[in-house]
């Protein structure tokens, strides 16, 4: 079985190790690094529970090989909070009831983060479109949209002051 030495920056910290060719990025994050915030919800690249940022773009980590991330930067939900301060999205999800069972939440947060990095003032349609690769079975999405809007407003406020 072929293995590869990889060096992947995860949430800002370099991680090194040997991975089997077929090891999926999501399993490397969850089972090897024990970053279990990234979840698995389907087999067919539909649900988005496994969404992480790969070089800043949200991708489904069940459909990326760990070795494909070699030399790249991965951000997971565990990296959102910085120095004890929640990311405005995290705050927004709690304030606006953007989560219920919490299983899709890490993926939603990462997708939301990439959206806000690109678009500081997304419309409801922009948000709905951006999260359309992330399934949620609990919330009916209404409050998720509000949570992202909350975070966008807060981020704009922060950059204005």
């Amino acid at each position: 079985m072929a293995t590869h030495d990889v060096r992947i920056t995860v949430n800002g910290a370099p991680q090194e190790g040997a991975v089997e060719s077929r090891l999926l990025l999501v399993h490397w994050l969850r089972d090897v690094l024990r970053l279990t915030g990234t979840h698995i919800g389907c087999d067919t690249t539909h649900c988005g529970a496994c969404t992480v940022l790969l070089d800043g773009e949200p991708v489904k980590s069940c459909t990326v090989l760990a070795v494909q991330a070699d030399g790249r930067e991965v951000q997971t939900v565990e990296g959102l909070e910085q120095n004890g301060t929640l990311h405005p999205l995290q705050e927004g999800f709690q304030q606006e009831h953007g989560l219920q069972c919490g299983f899709c939440t890490p993926g939603m947060l990462m997708t939301g983060r990439a959206l806000l990095d690109r678009n500081a003032d997304p419309s409801e349609a922009d948000i709905r479109q951006a999260i359309s690769g992330n399934l949620c079975r609990c919330t009916g999405y209404v409050s998720i949209v509000k949570s992202v809007e909350y975070a966008a407003a807060k981020l704009r406020e922060g950059s204005a002051s």
């Binding site: 990234t38 959102l80 999405y141």
Partner: protein
């Protein structure tokens, strides 16, 4: 109802931010697949490609050669321990692993135990199974024909595929009333197989400690206590004893009914752990989840509704064939093989009704669980709400007028329905009138008429549902004999903070928050200072779990009752501390004070401290209480929904333009959470109305068995729900609450179906079975010459 407590105490009526969120928003939830124990092994399952086949042989040789593969478990292995069959919740039997034949596609055939997931998956592929296909029975009507192959050959006396007959109501009187009715409408309906598809699939980690003989199972279960008892009953003969079984339901990524049953995978992981003495993890993948776990619905109905010509509904008769798959593994209360289908008279004051259901075996996976609904209530509501609309069209009455004319009036509650339920409270006119006002019903009807004139298709659909939740009173409600009460245990600590444990298990409903608010309401201790625990059978009091919207009506009520016991004791302590008689004290949330001398008072925190430091002579120390709450009745949440749809005449696509939901779930514990529950419920109501279905071809091959074809809606298909409420408290729940988690799932499908049919009614359309796909609409348009 305005909150009675301050925002600091945060009792009922406050939109408290959820206490569970801090861990979830940081990715620190602890779901079953997150659990990793030292030396843990992985179990993966070989599944049948055939829907009905004899197993000729299973060859594990190649699988066992794969590095990391430790064992292959087959039905024969389990047979040695008499563990190859297990009972279902409906007292039928279900295979853990087959020894003779498989009965549905994707059925478990063998299990591979390996050192990691990858090796286990390779092992599954390498197990060779030789099958001899048998005739497949897919259609439940064909299954009932005299020459149909008998599927349950394991049951010696079984000569057909009929499981049960259940009926309720007066058949003769109903038929008489129908014969005498001015107008009778008849409709066949099929409510298809669907799947809850919680985003977290099912799984467990079984950890058997050989030295202590203790089995700890972390499990995706909505009912940990009942599961523990079932495990003790099923595996008692191999040495598992209830006090040595600890079932832990950690964070659960959505349940919706799908995590009530015991699936073979759980039993296999437990058996493997007991045999090898190491922790064993089994987590199914999505396709296994959709293809093999319990389904919901699959009801074939024939319904008749009678009315006078002025629009008074008089009689309802329903005949149903229920396809249960190869075993009756529904998760109903034992005395209700068709669940609470007898709520089928709905919100209407019907004088005559009769319903019957026949359960049938077919070569499909077992189930008949709920899909975010209280035991077949969705089936009932869909039937009566569709029939009511058909009747309205037949009578050329506005569907709103017909409903308003026939609602059980507010002054008739508690209302005894003709099929035997006592509805606790309701104000049906209030909810529908509010929904009509909010959506602008009259203007929409005008717009519709204008659009029809231009050849455009829009429809307005109403659903005025009555739910029946909170199972249930122990005189009638049990599962495998276990009475369906629920429980709460409260410990108030010396510094006035509290820990409370419940017999239920949240799967996203926010119990850690709402239960704290329930107790805060009763005790005046800030909800922020009340820690809620559930899901560990070693610590939590016994309860039947969370499903059927029962947590608030049962465990929530137990919380209120236990809190009142605490308060009663606190009052005694306060009287002692203030040197007055108990009768001289009055309670405002959090404080006992002397009547007429409010400066003389003791806070609950002071009283709690005294309970451990200075309690009255002759009284036991401490401040704790337990309640096992046996509800006197079920609760009957209700609501009226109105949906507006536009139809694309070229493609047949249905677009929900607006959807207004007015719900009444009695007194509200946390308005924010109630809104969230309704949003989610509406989405899970829309999904089967327009998108989701699992079906089978004539060979029993599943279709819709992955997220490729099982169409869980995204944010793009889901409309922006508009919610509103009325409040009609339950007279028997201690806090007047009713439960809300499933109302919207139950109420939404007929609102949508009625809207689509309404859009096409002028073409003579009276019914379309759900899911209403673009092709179904297109075909109608084509047949009626109304397409593009």
């Amino acid at each position: 109802m305005a909150p009675q407590t301050t925002p600091e105490v945060c009792g009922m009526g406050h939109s408290m931010k959820r206490k569970e969120d801090p861990r979830f928003i940081r990715g620190q939830g602890n779901y079953v697949d997150d659990i990793q124990l030292p030396g843990m092994l992985y179990l993966d399952i070989v599944r049948s490609p055939f829907a009905h086949a004899r197993i000729k042989s299973i060859n594990s040789e190649n699988a066992l050669k794969i590095p990391g593969v430790l064992a292959v478990i087959t039905g024969e292995t389990l047979e040695q321990y008499n563990l190859h069959w297990m009972p279902t919740l409906m007292s039928d039997t279900q295979m853990v692993l087959p020894t003779e034949k498989v009965m549905y596609q994707a059925q478990e055939v063998a299990a591979v135990v390996a050192t990691d997931r990858y090796a286990a998956a390779d092992g599954v592929e390498a197990v060779e199974v030789d099958y001899d296909p048998l005739p497949v029975v897919v259609d439940p009507f064909k299954a009932l024909e005299p020459d149909a192959p008998v599927l349950r050959t394991d049951k010696e006396d079984k000569k057909d595929n009929h499981i049960f007959h259940w009926e309720v109501g007066d058949r003769a009187a109903t038929e008489g009333a129908l014969a005498g009715a001015d107008v009778v409408v008849k409709q066949d309906l099929y409510i298809p197989r669907i799947h809850v598809a919680s985003i977290e699939t099912c799984g467990c980690v079984a950890d058997f400690d050989r030295v202590m003989g203790k089995l700890k199972v972390y499990m995706t279960t909505q009912a940990p206590h009942a599961i523990r008892t079932v495990l003790a009953l099923v595996a008692g003969h191999v040495g598992l004893s209830e006090e040595k079984i600890q079932v832990i339901s950690p964070d659960i990524g959505g349940g919706f009914g799908g995590k009530v049953p015991v699936y073979p995978g759980y039993v296999l992981a437990i058996a493997a752990s007991v045999v090898v003495g190491k922790p064993v993890k089994w987590v199914e993948d999505r396709m296994e989840n959709l293809q093999a776990d319990s389904f919901a619905r699959d009801y074939h109905l024939k319904a008749e509704l009678g009315a006078t010509k002025d629009g008074t509904l008089t009689a309802l008769k329903i005949k149903t064939v229920a396809d249960h798959g190869y075993t009756d593994a529904a998760a109903n209360p034992s005395k209700f093989p068709a669940g609470l289908f007898s709520i089928v008279t709905g919100s209407y004051d019907l004088k005559h009704a009769f319903a019957e259901v026949d359960g049938v075996y077919t070569n499909k996976p077992p189930g008949g669980i709920a899909y975010r609904c209280s035991f077949r209530v969705t089936e009932a509501v869909h039937t009566i709400e569709r029939l009511t609309d058909i009747m309205a069209h037949e009578l050329k009455m506005d569907p709103a007028d017909l409903r308003l004319k026939n609602f059980v009036p507010a002054d008739k509650f508690p209302y005894k329905s003709v099929l035997g339920w006592e509805y606790d409270s309701g104000n049906y006119h209030g909810a529908l009138e509010k929904a009509m006002e909010r959506i602008g019903y009259a203007e929409l009807r005008k717009e519709q008429a204008d659009k029809r004139g231009r050849g455009e298709l829009m429809g307005i659909g109403i659903s005025s549902f009555t739910e029946i939740v909170g199972a249930g009173p122990s005189r009638t409600f049990d599962i495998l004999g276990l009475k369906m009460f629920d429980s709460c245990e409260i410990r108030v600590h010396p510094t006035g903070k509290a820990t409370a444990r419940f017999g239920t298990k949240s799967q996203g409903q926010g119990h850690e928050t709402t239960y704290a608010q329930v107790l805060a309401e009763e005790l005046g201790i800030p909800a922020a200072h009340i820690e809620i625990e559930e899901g560990d059978t070693d610590t939590a009091p016994y309860g039947l779990g969370t499903y059927a919207s029962r947590s608030t009506p049962t465990a929530g009520a137990a919380g209120a009752m236990a809190a009142r016991k605490v308060r009663d004791k606190a009052k005694k302590i306060a009287a002692y501390l203030l040197e007055v008689s108990e009768d001289d004290l009055e309670w405002t949330p959090g404080t006992f004070s002397v009547k007429g001398a409010p400066q003389k008072s003791k806070t609950i925190q002071e009283i709690a401290f005294a309970a451990y430091t200075n309690h009255p002579p002759g009284m036991e120390g401490g401040l704790e209480a337990v309640s096992y709450y046996d509800p006197p009745n079920l609760t009957f949440p209700f609501g009226s929904y109105i949906c507006v749809v536009d139809i694309d005449r070229g493609t047949g696509e249905v677009k929900i333009r607006r959807f207004v939901a007015v719900d009444d779930c009695g007194n509200i514990i946390n308005p924010m959470i109630v809104d969230g529950q309704i949003h989610g419920g509406l989405t899970m109501g829309m999904a089967p109305a327009l998108l989701e279905e699992i079906s089978y071809d004539e060979n029993g091959n599943i279709s819709g068995g992955s997220f490729m074809d099982y169409l869980v809606p995204t944010a793009m298909e889901t409309p922006r729900w508009e919610t509103d409420k009325t409040v009609t408290p339950s007279p028997h729940h201690p806090q007047g609450a009713k439960g809300v988690g499933e109302s919207a799932t139950v109420g939404a499908p007929p609102a949508i179906a009625n809207a689509v049919v309404d859009a096409l009614a002028h073409l003579g359309v009276r019914h379309i079975d759900i899911p209403i796909t673009p092709e179904k609409v297109w075909r109608i348009l084509k047949d009626k010459g109304a397409g593009l």
